[in-house]
């Protein structure tokens, strides 16, 4: 029995989201961390754990020095790409649960639009070395190229359509239109807009693709006992798992392998989840995740989305209630983790009533967290 609510995400913090922050990634990280610690009611000198995305640029020791940390007991990065947020939560919660650290901060600060841009292969390109020798020379140069290849084949196998992917984008935009922090707060989106938008990497239209964002975000994890000083509902870690590699079929996301571990650890069934944040680097993958985590059967995700089931407030499983990566900000899971905490704490701009169990996937099978509302 892993965490089962012994650890709580006691604080969240984020900067504004923009196309040009005008400050360093380190500063964005520190601003977000300060806000998260204030939210948690914990002094920054008490932080003894720091975890981050390996692709980010702000080292733990530098952050620790700026925070005035007295004794850094647990730190590290998880590699791969942007998709490791939930895995970091699992790692941090494990450290607290094992008694190796007491206050773990997970942070990031990225100039993802004005600086290094994921979408152009700036971060992930490998210049034809290693396994990239068999993909990059033929034009698979960025994360979205490989994902588009998977999406095309899965469309062929399950019959899911571009218009159904478009309804993911339209639904999330509706949620963003209720969220003043969202990049697309002021701009509506119709299915016609989606279908008429230009192709980026076919089958991905422009509005299937996530934003590129400058910003920072942070989470503070501590024991649930210690977190009780904060008034109001809390976001307890019911379950957290890491994943990311599995030798399943070409069109199966890693969620197929990870999902049984998640539900077993949580002692829950997908039907018990009230609200979900799902990694939407590209809209089709929300459909695939709904299927591969078992919220619906394979091949049923498109219809589930089109019939309004992921739409706030009347859908049975509202998804990406802050607007997600498509319409709020592309903080690669961080903004979705923050939104999942808001849902547990009754603070979302598209709040799901009585959201006892809040699900978040930060990379279609690279990790998932289920938060339970505490009193």
């Amino acid at each position: 029995m892993a965490f089962m609510n012994a650890v709580t995400i006691a604080g969240v913090g984020e900067t504004e989201y923009s196309k040009n922050s005008g400050r360093s990634e380190l500063q964005l990280s520190l601003e977000a961390i300060n806000k998260a610690l204030q939210d948690a009611g914990i002094d920054r000198k008490e932080v003894d754990g720091l975890l981050r995305w390996s692709v980010d640029t702000s080292p733990e020791a530098t952050v620790a020095a700026n925070l005035g940390v007295e004794d850094l007991a647990w730190f590290g990065e998880i590699s791969q790409a942007g998709n490791v947020g939930a895995a970091l939560v699992a790692n941090g919660a494990a450290a607290i649960h094992a008694g190796l650290a007491s206050v773990v901060v997970i942070y990031r600060g990225v100039n993802g639009r004005s600086g290094r841009r994921y979408g152009r292969g700036d971060v992930t390109g490998r210049s034809g070395r290693g396994s990239a020798a068999y993909s990059e020379p033929f034009g698979l140069l960025t994360p979205q190229h490989g994902l588009a290849m998977t999406a095309r084949r899965r469309m062929f196998e399950t019959g899911v359509t571009s218009a159904q992917f478009g309804m993911v984008a339209v639904t999330e935009r509706g949620h963003a239109n209720r969220n003043p922090r969202a990049t697309f707060f002021d701009t509506p989106l119709t299915l016609e807009d989606h279908q008429n938008s230009r192709m980026i990497v076919d089958p991905f239209h422009l509005f299937d693709c996530c934003l590129e964002t400058d910003g920072g975000g942070a989470l503070v994890l501590t024991s649930t006992d210690r977190a009780k000083v904060r008034p109001g509902p809390s976001a307890m870690v019911r379950a957290a798992v890491q994943g990311g590699y599995s030798n399943r079929g070409f069109t199966d996301t890693a969620a197929v392998a990870l999902s049984p571990r998640l539900w077993n650890q949580a002692r829950l069934d997908p039907s018990e989840i009230n609200v979900a944040q799902i990694y939407d680097h590209f809209a089709p993958f929300v459909v695939f995740a709904l299927e591969d985590y078992g919220f619906v059967s394979r091949g049923e995700g498109g219809e589930f989305v089109s019939s309004g089931e992921i739409t706030w407030a009347n859908g049975s499983l509202p998804v990406n209630t802050s607007g997600g990566h498509l319409s709020e900000a592309y903080m690669q899971g961080m903004n979705q983790l923050i939104e999942s905490v808001r849902q547990a704490r009754d603070e979302s701009t598209s709040q799901v009533q009585d959201a006892q169990f809040s699900f978040v996937d930060t990379g279609i099978g690279t990790g998932a967290v289920i938060l339970e509302r505490g009193d």
């Binding site: 979408g119 292969g121 034809g128 033929f138 034009g139 960025t142 084949r153 192709m199 990497v201 076919d202």
Partner: protein
């Protein structure tokens, strides 16, 4: 070497062979598409592996294959999101399921991107980029 009017983007990444992949690229230079086959359990790997995931051996041989297969999936880059594709869009990248089983990422040099269709029959077409690198590309196979 190729008879087709296919223009490879001049700045598109080239493979950077290392000690684990040297023989594969050397085979292509000599006009042969080589697949790595485990000497213990006969599993065929593409891309080549260092250790056989099926039986754990490090004992491989290289087997030449003909290079026939079908289109398994494909993407078409319209927005030149990577600088090397500027002036070369729309650009088709194909995933081909070889008759022997493995799937190989490549390009199809005798069709337009809009002609791509999952299941279409393809065959190997070697494409010499320079004296060091020959790429395994493909052509649509028209049944006469």
């Amino acid at each position: 070497m190729s008879d087709y009017q296919w223009l490879r983007p001049v700045n598109l990444t080239l493979p950077d062979p290392d000690e684990d992949s040297f023989e594969f690229w050397e085979g292509l230079k000599q006009g042969r598409l080589l697949m790595q086959v485990c000497n213990i359990c006969s599993q065929m790997n593409y891309p080549p592996m260092v250790m056989c995931s099926e039986c754990g051996s490090f004992n491989f041989q290289w087997r030449e294959i003909e290079g026939g297969g079908v289109l398994y999936s494909y993407v078409v880059t319209h927005q030149p999101i990577h600088p090397s594709l500027v002036d070369y869009t729309p650009f088709l990248t194909a995933l081909i399921e070889l008759d022997e089983g493995p799937r190989i990422t490549s390009n199809i040099v005798n069709i337009q991107p809009e002609e791509a269709e999952i299941g279409m029959r393809l065959k190997l077409e070697l494409f010499e980029v320079n004296p060091q690198i020959t790429l395994p590309l493909f052509v649509r196979e028209y049944v006469s």
